[in-house]
């Protein structure tokens, strides 16, 4: 007997999010932007560094969000793309003396190609199978980076040390602060590009595939092309994030890019709200700060506290930060009426 599944009744892998619900309004965006510009001016260098990491992880979560929230495909393997991006930047800077800002587009393009190629076999997989295949990629990546064959370039197990760039034109700000604003500019550029991508014809094709693959192909969407394209774009953005990460941390090593990172990014997306791009920054805050908070609550039980918090999110706000934002918006609307 062959199992027959009703394609129409099947629960979708990812909940459909309407296009308009994927972004913030203009007013809110400007407020968030202003906060991101002003707040670091009053912080110590270490906290500025943490904010930089917040932006970098937010970029990586955003990339996953385009893949999952946009085109409905899974990935537990984002750490692999992040690693490739980080290594590309590090190798270009340290071995070839390329300017750090120029390494980012290269990292993005290489990762785009890598993701596009990986998307080819992934085409035949969906749901949990795709999760498994990408999971395998993420687990294998640190081992591949340690290979003796690449050691001349990658530095093997020891990794590479990356020099931190100074602020250009003799600007009187610290390296950390300069790097923060540099990251902020890159992030804003990528965020705007992503929003526009999802609003474009390609974005509509992604969403059509997410909501119903068969209907999408019936309407003339090239399913194979757009699925691999989504993988490529997502990997490319993750690669840029990885490159930024390498510059900010000043160090790349295989053990920095384990499956734990991939899982963190995945959790960041779930917490931020699947398919809600601004949620990426909330998700990123969750994966950076919550483990610290958990550690404060109980040293030995930090993993358990983290898990319990995650369960609370799943049960209480299954749509993540998006849901919180929607509720807040409704309450504001009611207040205005009164």
């Amino acid at each position: 007997m062959s199992a027959v599944e009703e394609a129409a009744n099947e629960a979708p892998a990812v909940e459909a999010v309407p296009k308009r619900a994927m972004t913030l309004g203009y007013g809110t965006s400007l407020v968030v932007l202003a906060l991101l510009i002003i707040v670091p001016m009053f912080l110590k260098n270490f906290f500025v560094f943490q904010l930089t990491m917040l932006l970098i992880y937010a970029l990586a979560v955003l990339a996953l969000n385009i893949l999952t929230g946009g085109s409905g495909q899974f990935s537990l393997g984002q750490s692999a793309f992040y690693a490739v991006g980080a290594y590309t930047s590090a190798i270009l800077m340290e071995h070839m003396g390329v300017n750090y800002a120029l390494t980012l587009p290269v990292a993005g393009i290489i990762c785009f190609g890598f993701g596009f190629l990986f998307g080819q076999p992934a085409l035949r997989l969906s749901g949990i199978y795709l999760a498994l295949a990408t999971f395998a990629l993420a687990v294998a990546m640190p081992q591949l980076l340690k290979l003796g064959f690449f050691e001349h370039w990658t530095g093997g197990v020891q990794g590479l040390v990356v020099t931190k760039p100074d602020a250009p034109f003799g600007l009187p700000i610290s390296q950390d602060r300069w790097l923060y604003y540099f990251t902020l500019v890159v992030s804003i550029g990528i965020y705007i590009a992503s929003v526009n991508l999802l609003k474009s014809r390609s974005g509509r094709a992604f969403m059509a595939i997410r909501d119903n693959e068969i209907a999408a192909s019936a309407m003339g969407v090239d399913v194979a092309l757009y699925k691999t394209l989504a993988f490529g774009v997502s990997a490319g953005i993750t690669g840029v994030a990885g490159g930024l990460g390498a510059i900010a941390v000043q160090f790349v090593a295989p053990d920095g890019y384990t499956i734990t990172l991939a899982i963190s990014l995945f959790l960041g997306m779930v917490v931020g709200g699947v398919g809600w791009l601004p949620g990426s920054i909330v998700g990123s805050a969750f994966i950076i700060f919550v483990p610290n908070i958990a550690e404060h609550i109980s040293k030995g039980l930090s993993g358990a506290v983290f898990g319990v918090l995650l369960f609370l999110v799943i049960f209480l706000v299954p749509h993540g930060a998006r849901q919180v934002a929607m509720v807040a918006q409704q309450m504001l609307g009611k207040l205005k009426k009164n």
Binding site: A11, F74, P121, R124, Y129, V139, V270, G307, L310
Partner: protein
């Protein structure tokens, strides 16, 4: 030739570990259509429970039996409390739930029993089996238990009413409900059984890899590889897949130049991806046909 036979034997011995784990993975996949990423941690926790019971002076086999019962109950409780409410949620939410469970179980085990590596006893002894240096009596016992478990499962699913009901609930939940099967409890039962099988796997593996909270990390990935190779819908496939992965891993490490110990894991993962791409249903699985 002798090298070849030896490597195959050693592969079968490690393959038994993977087979056990794969069996647990398949059990739960059958019941709920999800891969339980926390399966290894649940098995690890069960193993710690049996170790604790033995520390309190309970004989091996009684501890073994008690652990199976506790794990079975534990699996059902986890399903009722945490995953039943998520039954209708998207796959994504479920995966996040499994990861949360993973973190909780791992951390709690570390807190109760700390992270030092512990010896774990074996009832089979560890002398060479039938004069062969490669397979110890423990590994032979492990293979025996795995095969026995598979036969028991086969009998259970083919010849008991509950087994039939569980298969029906997994294959066609709606039709099963119409003929009066409580599908919700069948899922809970699936969790309980998977948890108990995981406990057996953990108890068998512990003497080889030693007992500690992270003992299952690598094993679970090989278990996944085995389950995918054999087909996620077939318990027999899982066991055969386990042995094949074990043998393949050993032979690749011996004969392909450049594949030392450090590349063994990527080999298993390459295997997962190859199988998924070429034959997604696995060797023994049923292909899923979609009605449009």
């Amino acid at each position: 030739m002798e090298l070849f036979t030896n490597q195959v034997l050693a592969g079968i011995a490690t393959g038994a570990i993977y087979a056990c784990m794969a069996l647990a993975v398949v059990m739960i996949y059958q019941a709920i259509d999800h891969l339980n990423f926390a399966q290894g941690e649940m098995a690890m926790f069960s193993t710690f429970i049996s170790w604790q019971l033995m520390q309190w002076g309970i004989p091996y086999w009684w501890a073994f039996l008690a652990t199976l019962i506790i794990s079975f109950a534990g699996g059902i409780i986890i399903e009722r409390l945490l995953f039943k409410p998520l039954a209708k949620a998207p796959v994504l939410t479920n995966v996040a739930g499994f990861i949360a469970l993973f973190a909780i179980v791992n951390s709690v085990a570390g807190l109760i029993w700390d992270f030092t590596i512990k010896q774990y006893p074996t009832p089979f002894g560890s002398s060479p089996f039938l004069g062969s240096q490669l397979i110890s009596t423990h590994q032979a016992g492990m293979i025996g238990v795995t095969v026995g478990l598979l036969i028991l499962l086969y009998l259970f699913f083919q010849f008991t009413r509950i087994g039939l009901a569980m298969r029906a609930a997994a294959a066609m939940p709606e039709s099963a409900r119409l003929v009066g099967i409580n599908t919700s409890w069948m899922i809970a039962l699936g969790w309980g059984m998977a948890s108990a099988i995981g406990a057996i796997a953990g108890i068998l593996i512990a003497p080889v890899v030693f007992l500690e909270p992270n003992m299952m990390g690598g094993v679970l990935i090989y278990g996944f590889a085995a389950a995918v190779l054999g087909g996620l819908t077939s318990p027999l496939g899982a066991v055969v897949g386990g042995f094949l992965v074990g043998v393949f891993e050993n032979l690749a490490g011996t004969y392909i130049p450049g594949v030392g110990n450090e590349l063994k894991l990527p080999i298993a993962l390459a295997l997962i991806i190859t199988v998924l791409v070429l034959k997604p249903a696995g060797l023994f699985g049923r292909p899923i046909v979609k009605r449009v």
